[in-house]
Subunit: 412 residues, 2 copies
């Protein structure tokens, strides 16, 4: 079985938005061992969409379209399909019911423009949209399959994973291979050092390869293998993973979709330890990341964003002497912030962070990007100095990442 | 003149990397008034690339390919072009010289695999690559133009802007238009309501159109116009903008790249008012967004992330009676949080936020997504109730967005 993806939308041709749907669909299809030979983009133009669909149906078994299912006149997908397969549009009462429910839950009546979305070509199957309005379509036509999905990623993604992938897999018995991958996530180490330490592994040739992906404050290594069965795939991945672990163990914080805040949270939860945070330059970002984790209320006691010296002194209780003598951006102030917040919150762990996020406010001795992070836990008092580079937001993020990494290492 | 873009690379079909080249090329072509009707991706496969090129040449004046110009056997572009136009590959001594220079500057001899990159189809013009190795190609074939560019963005981008755009513009004397756009940003209003209030405007036909883009907690309207000159473009945009403003004024928070936190910050700064925040369910996100703005230290006094009831009572000083009587998630608690943090910080404005971010912790009376936001400013005490939907992170973001919007309206 081979699949072709057609994304519909003039905004994509103008480069206004990136085609993230195609990336998502391609990844999921590859993981399922389904070949994608072509992807393309066509504007909101019936003639050109029709031409693209016809061409795709000649060379591919399955054509997946994204977008063009909305309520406006620019949304041409349903109409084009109806014309292509010569089936008139008929009102689907189940879709209409879903629509009515959607609007009722929002205290509204169904918009007249949206009623149009309940009309689909006769005999065509629809996929319910649990997040938004536009349903998807599954069309069987001359031995081929056309799947139409809505454009918004948060609507398309669950529909594709829950309905379309199982539907295609059932109809793809001659599957020859599967693609499996694993991502190893590192932090606290520059890409160049990773590159050097595992140079040979990065030069591996198919069927098993390793890619390096550099993000802000994080380096990801992605092992990809093509195999005939799960067992072979798992063994190939394990072999490479072991080699990477041997060389870079200390910097690996997680695998797959794990996040640093999730890893730290799980450890805190497991140890039944609570944490409190006093942050300055990160402005609440560290607390926000920690509380992104469901269940964080069990271990997150409180946070104070002490931006001004007044807040550091009056609310947090950092001594004015410390600030006068060493400055607000100093290892001493970071430590005292960590100690004071632990005391105030009555938590097991205290974190103090102070630094200069920029773009202004730096000096020669204390440049933009200088950050001090302190963690106090039991009798331990850790203080680290960092010098980050980048924009204000990039420095904030890297500082929060470094604090989480220090926490990870401290509580392991 | 209309252009079609073909990106070459199996890694694109596997969804391993995003197709940023197509976004870049599309934007630049649109700005130059050159139409793009199709873009597509094809794997590293000679037969399929050949088929795609032939198809593209039937319907487009110019075909731009990206990728497949490297030194490995997977790089098939030059070879495919040579076959398509029936011109044999010949050594180009000027390319070879560039190659030798490139390697000499790096203290190396030319790699044998790279010598292959100095062979191009007879009679074809090449574009020098100042950043990397692979030269680009400009092929004239049966009245059409094929432009081949290397895959790495930092090589492709200067070649395209410096050489290809001028080349195409010279051959597009009948350029009739330029493309200009403006984005209007709204919040606090659902997409469906925007749709309804400006239905006619959304149905505008070219040369001036309005697109609606729904983000989390934000709806963007993008006016795009095709015009003969800057003056006409500006007038067309202004005319539509005025109409949109007439109907949706209250919900418009900014234009272009502006952010809600930036707009709120600028107003606070202008009025010389300071702000302090006590947040619960948003876990520091509101403080973090406010402090994403450079210069926010001038108006952001402090923030407290009071997650637990203990923190709300002991540190913030919310009365235990309020929490007992109404619960921590209540309008009363939100108001008291706003009042207490204003008092503690000695700021002009206080913000209190409390709610349930989920995924657990909701009840029938107080479901996940219920959030109370209070703003106190001078003698005003505002309290609003919201019911958001989505994941924990989505609820956090929408709540922070609603708080910023309430601030925006309060301090205008």
């Amino acid at each position: 079985m081979n699949v072709e993806i057609i994304s519909i939308g003039t905004e994509l041709l103008l480069g206004n938005i990136a085609n993230t749907n195609t990336v998502f669909l391609s990844q999921k299809l590859a993981e399922s061992g389904i070949d994608v030979y072509y992807t393309s983009v066509v504007g909101d133009n019936i003639t050109r969409l029709n031409e693209s669909l016809k061409r795709a149906l000649l060379r591919s078994d399955v054509v997946i379209t994204t977008g063009g299912l909305g309520p406006t006149v620019d949304d041409i997908t349903t109409q084009t399909i109806s014309k292509l397969i010569s089936k008139r549009l008929v009102l689907n009462t189940r879709i209409l019911k879903d629509l009515e429910n959607y609007f009722r839950m929002r205290g509204m009546k169904v918009l007249t423009s949206s009623v149009r979305q309940a009309y689909i070509p006769e005999g065509v199957r629809h996929i319910r949209n649990k997040v938004g309005i536009a349903p998807g379509l599954i069309v069987r036509y001359k031995g081929k399959i056309i799947v139409c999905l809505p454009g918004p990623p948060r609507e398309l993604q669950p529909m594709f994973e829950e309905k379309v992938i199982p539907y295609l897999q059932k109809r793809n018995p001659k599957r020859k291979w599967i693609l499996r991958s694993q991502t190893i996530k590192l932090t606290g180490i520059p890409e160049s050092v990773v590159n050097k330490s595992i140079k040979r592994i990065l030069n591996l040739r198919p069927p098993t390869t390793v890619g390096i992906y550099c993000k802000l404050g994080e380096v990801d290594l992605r092992i990809v293998t093509k195999a005939r069965d799960e067992k072979t795939a798992a063994a190939s991945i394990m072999k490479v993973k072991k080699k990477i672990r041997e060389r870079l163990k200390d910097f690996i914080f997680g695998y797959g979709n794990s996040t640093l805040e999730g890893i730290v949270g799980r450890r805190l939860d497991g140890l039944k330890k609570t944490i409190a945070i006093a942050e300055s330059c990160t402005g609440g970002l560290l607390a926000s990341r920690i509380t992104d984790v469901a269940g964080s209320s069990r271990y997150f006691a409180m946070g104070i964003v002490a931006y001004s010296n007044a807040a550091k002194e009056n609310i947090l209780g950092v001594s004015s002497q410390t600030i006068e003598k060493y400055g607000a951006v100093s290892p001493d102030c970071a430590l005292e912030m960590a100690q004071r917040i632990r005391l105030l919150a009555g938590s097991d762990i205290g974190v103090g962070m102070t630094g200069i996020a920029g773009p202004t406010g730096g000096t020669i001795m204390k440049p933009v990007g200088l950050v001090y992070i302190s963690v106090v836990f039991d009798s331990r008092r850790l203080i680290r100095e960092f010098r980050f580079k980048g924009s204000r937001e990039e420095i904030k993020f890297q500082a929060s990442q470094a604090a989480l990494d220090l926490l990870r290492k401290t509580i392991r």
